[in-house]
């Protein structure tokens, strides 16, 4: 039951930030562009140099090998990037067929050529790419940014199921206040490098 804890985390103009996300909890962050939301997620994933530390349960980021940490505390970037020709090359094993279906993708998607995928298809596939590694904490940077309303709901639903089943801690950056109402148990505004908790909206689950 992994919980994510940030202690005095500081990266460039963001922080110091203290935050606890319980196992199975979803916390949303919003804020103006340039406020450092992406920077914060990158620092938690240890892709950028930072002060302070992050813990997954009692495992400290700086004491784990960086790849191991990033496997357990997985960042899904706003834009998806691919290095191979076909979708399947980017997955270590199979793709969970029911997840594909849930996101409105056919099973044959594993053989698709990436150059022919739409931005929205790639975004969903990138999410699955990360989920297939079964991370204990998820750092999501606008995971539905390029999706229509119906597909957005599908993604929200899949992520909620994953979170409950895996008891994963989820940190979700979103611009959409409706989405924040739907998915978050707690919501924060990132401004001037600090997190301010806001009135809780509707509970999800």
């Amino acid at each position: 039951m992994p919980s994510l804890r940030l202690q005095h985390l500081r990266a460039r103009h963001v922080g110091p930030i203290e935050l606890n996300i319980d196992a199975g909890e979803c916390v949303c962050i919003h804020g103006a562009s340039g406020s450092g939301k992406t920077l914060l997620l990158r620092a938690i994933a240890d892709l950028d140099a930072h002060a302070g530390d992050a813990y997954l349960d009692d495992q400290r980021c700086s004491q784990l090998q960086a790849p191991d940490w990033r496997r357990s505390v997985a960042l899904v970037a706003a834009e998806s990037h691919w290095w191979g020709e076909r979708v399947g090359e980017h997955f270590e094993g199979e793709i969970n067929a029911s997840w594909l279906q849930q996101l409105g993708l056919p099973e044959a998607a594993i053989d698709w050529q990436l150059s022919r995928c739409s931005t929205g298809e790639r975004q969903r596939l990138a999410l699955l790419r990360t989920l297939m590694q079964n991370p204990g904490a998820l750092l999501l940077d606008e995971p539905t940014g390029n999706l229509d309303q119906a597909t957005t709901y599908r993604v929200e639903q899949l992520l909620a199921e994953y979170r409950r089943q895996r008891q994963a801690a989820v940190l979700w950056v979103s611009h959409d206040s409706g989405q924040i109402e739907r998915v978050a148990q707690r919501r924060f505004l990132l401004r001037d490098g600090r997190l301010a908790e806001e009135e809780r909206g509707l509970r999800c689950t």
Partner: protein, 267 residues
Amino acid sequence: MHVINLSPLDLAIAALLILALAGLSLRLRLGVERQLLTSAARSTIQLLLIGLVLKVLFDNVHLAWVALMAGVMILVAGREVMVRQKRRFIGWWGFGVGTLSMFISSFTVTVMALLLVIGTSPWYAPQYAIPLLGMILGNTMNGISLGLDRLTQDAAQKRPIIESRLALGQSWQQSISDSRREAIRVGLIPIINAMSAAGIVSLPGMMTGQILAGTPPVEAVKYQILVMFLIAGGTGFGTVVAVGLAARRLFDERQRLRLDRLSQPGK
């Protein structure tokens, strides 16, 4: 066989070509006459000087002098590798990566050739050691600077992809593997091309020189083959080492991509 000595007059006749070309450039407003003349003058002076240096070196065969000469050559080559990079590493790494890998590959290959293949006595006989090292170094320098340039450019360009791979928990080696492979390949292409074209499209300069100096063609060819192989070995291993070191330097101890360790292009 005897070498026909060239008199200063002979060289002056050849220099007329340069002057004529400069005149043409002036006439056609190509604007390269000044560069042409200065580079011609530079090469004359540099070559005359190195001729004198080599003469002294050959007259005073001593390991220390040979080592000093080799050291100067490698430092100059290291600087050349550095200035050819669009994005070079900041600080000592910019000079160090290329120089260290040239030192490892060119020196090893040259010493190996002197000791095991040619078997000169003493093994550091400057007549063999300096030209061999020069040829290997010159080519290795090309391979390394091409490879390094490709690697750093590629990493800067593919930053989002590399970071996606890191975010998926891949090691730095995996994340940069495509760029690294490509960079090594690019560094090796010139010598592979030179080997396949040798003798058909081009007569390599060294062999031509030997033949002009009166060496029987088949002997000259054997030396040329030896030199080609040495160059390929030096370039290949040098590029692999340089690109490997540089790739390592692009990541820090937490396996983060550190493009801030490179200078901006054009600065």
